[in-house]
């Protein structure tokens, strides 16, 4: 970390939760609660074709029969699904603005505060941003350039109208609506999210990116993202989010589906720093995310990288189904919990095809009164000849009121496959702290430095734009609980 980062760190720590402000924009939303009418309202608002509504209703009828998953290491009050708004769109955005000047200036201001000014971002980072504000996609930049290559990058709503064939073929193909209650719920009520299609042989020349924010009070956020990488293509996708400070717990249940065909590669990175609740455990986001990638074709590759520092509760297992022979799945994760946060996160690598490989690197850091669990499953099915997995999960404890837990499930049904798993849990190394302080660094700086070093293996997997922000986030998350 350079001194600039340390400086920024300083300003950050003074700001507490910097992103905790609320933008005042009128919301156009239906009544609270979940029923067929809510779903019809959403579908109508989004101008959806009949088949989509039917798809949603089917998912809804499945959801009604389902129970929420059993929570092993999480505890929180029961979710009242009837006390949530399922649709909220900033007024006047039923029709998309043609360019940024048509966007509500307040919204632009919000993004400026977040440090992602759209105008500059276009030029500076070369990132095409599909901004989701609450649930409606407001601006998409760089579209032209991508279009030339045949790349489709738009809101899922737009894709439903314009690319029905792809949606019909792939939506729900990796995460079936009936998979579990949150996937059913999301399938019934998702309002927006991103859609990406990379045509055969195309290497997407820039990082595609979305910033999510939850804004309106009591609004559940149900994104749906679908990324398809056709044969021989490549795409790197970034997802980052910050949420305004709120006292009421807010539910988030996103679904992300990735499909990599033969020789294709998808890299999906997330930095998640949603409002985690305050020092007393009040407020914060409930983050129940289903992310799953299918390596459908031979030699395909899907790589998940995540830095999870936010949310009151995180329940998230980005997974890979390694179906194509020689396909590769990777999972790199940093999860930091502080105060009363609870995280139960990890991955699932299902080896189906021959010669499939997976790698899991997970770094958990627990502080305060938080509980941090790594839960991961690696399984080799009968046909997964010569498959390989390497897993390493390390936990660091800072303070003696938190918990760090490691729950791996390891199964092999093939006698040519090899699984290797290593894990460790320890407190921060005293000798390292002493060494850093002997060189003049404060205790807090030393902890931040060592923890960042501990996470390095994961952070270096992030694209440059995110790596710096992620380092800052790691440091911010440690704030207040050391010394």
């Amino acid at each position: 970390m350079n001194s600039e980062t340390l400086n920024t760190l300083d300003t950050y720590s003074k700001n507490k939760y910097k992103y905790g402000f609320v933008t005042e924009i009128d919301n156009d939303k239906p009544q609270k609660g979940l029923n067929e009418d809510t779903i019809k309202f959403i579908s109508l608002k989004k101008n959806e074709p009949e088949w989509m509504l039917e798809w949603r209703l089917k998912a809804f009828s499945k959801w009604k029969k389902m129970k929420d998953p059993k929570w092993s290491n999480l505890s929180f009050p029961k979710i009242d699904y009837q006390d949530i708004y399922y649709y909220s769109a900033p007024k006047g955005f039923d029709k998309k603005p043609k360019d940024l000047s048509e966007v509500d200036p307040k919204l632009i201001e919000t993004y400026n505060k977040l440090g992602i000014p759209l105008e500059e971002q276009k030029v500076l980072a070369g990132v095409a941003v599909d901004v989701v504000f609450d649930s409606v996609s407001v601006a998409t930049t760089y579209k032209g350039e991508l279009e030339k290559l045949g790349i489709i990058f738009c809101s899922i709503g737009e894709a439903i109208q314009k690319h029905a064939d792809l949606i019909k073929k792939y939506l729900g193909s990796v995460i079936p609506p009936g998979d579990h209650s949150f996937s059913a719920l999301n399938s019934a009520v998702f309002t927006d999210g991103s859609f990406v299609y990379i045509p055969e042989g195309v290497k997407c020349p820039m990082e595609l990116s979305t910033y999510f924010r939850i804004n309106a009070e009591n609004t559940g956020q149900f994104e749906r993202t679908l990324i398809i990488a056709d044969k021989g293509s490549y795409v790197s996708y970034l997802e980052g989010c910050t949420a305004p400070k709120r006292d009421d717990n807010q539910l988030h249940a996103a679904n992300v589906e990735l499909i990599a065909l033969e020789d294709a590669e998808i890299k999906y990175s997330t930095v998640q720093n949603w409002y985690p609740g305050d020092e007393d455990g009040k407020g914060g986001i409930y983050n129940f995310v289903t992310k799953r990638g299918l390596c459908a074709g031979k030699n395909s590759k899907i790589s998940w990288t995540q830095v999870e520092t936010g949310s009151a509760i995180t329940w998230k297992y980005p997974s890979c189904i390694l179906k194509g022979d020689n396909s590769i799945g990777e999972f790199y994760s940093v999860a930091i919990t502080n105060n009363f946060q609870q995280a139960d996160t990890g991955t699932k690598m299902t080896h189906i095809g021959k010669n499939t490989k997976s790698k899991i690197i997970s770094k958990g850091i627990s502080l305060g009164k938080s509980q941090n669990t790594y839960r991961g499953e690696v399984s080799f099915l009968r046909k997964a000849e010569k498959a390989r997995n390497y897993t390493q999960c390390d936990s660091l404890l800072v303070g003696n009121q938190c918990g760090a837990h490691t729950v791996p499930y390891i199964e092999s049904k093939n006698n040519t496959a090899v699984i290797e798993h290593e894990a460790s849990t320890s407190k921060i190394n005293e000798d390292q702290l002493y060494y850093c302080r002997q060189r003049g660094l404060s205790h807090e700086e030393a902890v931040s430095l060592i923890v960042n070093g501990f996470c390095k293996q994961v952070l270096q997997e992030l694209p440059m734009e995110f790596a710096v922000e992620a380092q800052k986030l790691v440091s911010i998350s440690l704030e207040g609980s050391v010394g």
């Binding site: 936990s395 003696n400 837990h405 490691t406 496959a417 699984i419 798993h421 290593e422 849990t425």
Partner: protein, 408 residues
């Protein structure tokens, strides 16, 4: 026959049925059985087994005709032949053996915190029909060998034993299970180590395919005590080894190790669980398995470190070798840590025998099968070499050779 009927019909035959505390405890257990959905997805401890065989069974117990034999070979060496889970009483200045008592039953059912959802422990408590208690008196250093014999087909043995090592005592305990008949033994060992005591516990399991063996142990260690358990499972029938340990006072240690050798259609379920409840304790959980043919195994390990258990060192290792494309192994090495000054780790590998090593040995002129056998032996070399008792080492070696002779 279902649990409720079995119990009502055979009450007379079951220990402590007249005692009111026991009665009410058992009613609760019956409730649990009636209400549990035996959902394998949410209760992993019943993964890979046909529960029906164990829940829907014909209860039958026969008291042995001859009293079980105890011989004191020389001053510090005892041999016990326990027939159908019974052992006659015995007392000298070093040890005392009695039948299991009501108070032991109640003590366990009240204080048992870690095996609450263990159906097999509950079955054992419900149908208890035999068992004994051995107390090793203060500062004695002795060796006991117990052969567990089941006499008839169709017997259902529900046995609870208590082992108590008094302060400063040291016990070498070897238990043999070698049964050929079509019966089921469900054994629960409750083990208590007082201050500064030591128990080296060996379990040699070698039953025929028709015999089911369920062994559960619950050990608790006080200050400066050490419990070491080594399980050698060569059984051709179903074996379930579930071993729980609690380190309740400072400077205590527990070491739970096991090796198992499976073939044909056999299944083995294994679990070790160590709960660190005091400072400065150490634990070790190491299981290794070799699986041939269509065999299946599970191994759950768990290190739980309580908030007060600072300076804990906990280690886990599980290793599985799959010799055939139809064998499967599931492992779940878990860490649950609520204290910060700890060093805990686990490692786990599953895979075939190292191809490169086979190639190397073959290039030295060895046949593939010979190479395989050598590599299997070396896989468990450490465990075999650590057996200090020559007689036992020889017994284990013979069983290994027998297993290897079937490896093709």
């Amino acid at each position: 026959m279902n649990i409720q009927d079995n119990y009502q019909k055979n009450k007379k035959n079951i220990f402590f049925s007249e005692n009111n505390d026991v009665k009410s405890h058992r009613e609760k257990l019956i409730d649990i059985f009636e209400n549990d959905k035996f959902d394998k997805k949410n209760n992993e401890s019943i993964k890979n087994i046909n529960l029906k065989n164990f829940l829907d069974f014909k209860y039958r117990y026969l008291a042995p005709e001859e009293t079980s034999l105890i011989s004191n070979n020389n001053d510090n060496n005892y041999s016990i032949v326990s027939v159908n889970g019974q052992c006659s009483s015995f007392k000298d200045d070093k040890i005392e053996i009695t039948k299991i008592l009501e108070e032991d039953y109640n003590d366990f059912s009240e204080n048992n915190t870690i095996e609450k959802n263990e159906h097999f422990v509950n079955l054992n408590s419900l149908f208890l029909n035999c068992g004994f208690k051995i107390v090793i008196k203060k500062n004695n250093n002795i060796k006991i060998k117990i052969s567990n014999i089941v006499t008839d087909d169709d017997l259902t043995i529900f046995q609870k034993n208590n082992f108590i090592c008094e302060e400063g005592s040291s016990l070498n305990l070897i238990e043999e299970y070698e049964n050929k008949n079509n019966s089921t033994s469900n054994i629960l060992n409750v083990i208590k180590l007082e201050k500064n005591s030591q128990l080296n516990h060996f379990l040699i399991q070698d039953n025929s395919p028709s015999h089911n063996l369920i062994v559960t142990s619950h050990s608790s260690c006080k200050k400066d005590s050490t419990y070491t358990q080594k399980v050698y499972n060569f059984s051709e029938g179903y074996v379930r080894n579930f071993h729980f340990s609690e380190l309740i006072e400072i400077n205590s240690e527990v070491d739970l190790q096991g090796i198992f050798f499976l073939k044909d259609n056999n299944t083995s379920n294994n679990k070790t669980f160590v709960k660190h409840l005091a400072e400065n304790c150490k634990s070790n959980q190491v299981y290794k398995g070799i699986l041939n043919d269509r065999s299946k195994a599970t191994y759950f390990s768990n290190t739980h470190v309580d908030q007060v258990a600072q300076k804990t060192e906990g280690y886990q290792l599980s290793k599985g070798i799959l010799l055939s494309d139809n064998a499967s192994f599931f492992s779940k090495p878990e860490l649950k840590i609520y204290a910060d000054d700890v060093k805990c780790s686990h490692g786990s590998t599953i895979g075939p025998i190292d191809e490169n090593a086979i190639f190397y040995l073959r290039s030295r002129g060895m046949s593939k099968i010979a190479a395989t056998k050598i590599l299997i032996s070396s896989f468990i070399n450490e465990e075999l070499n650590s057996i200090s008792d020559d007689q036992m080492a020889e017994i284990i070696q013979k069983k290994l050779v027998r297993y290897l002779s079937k490896v093709k």
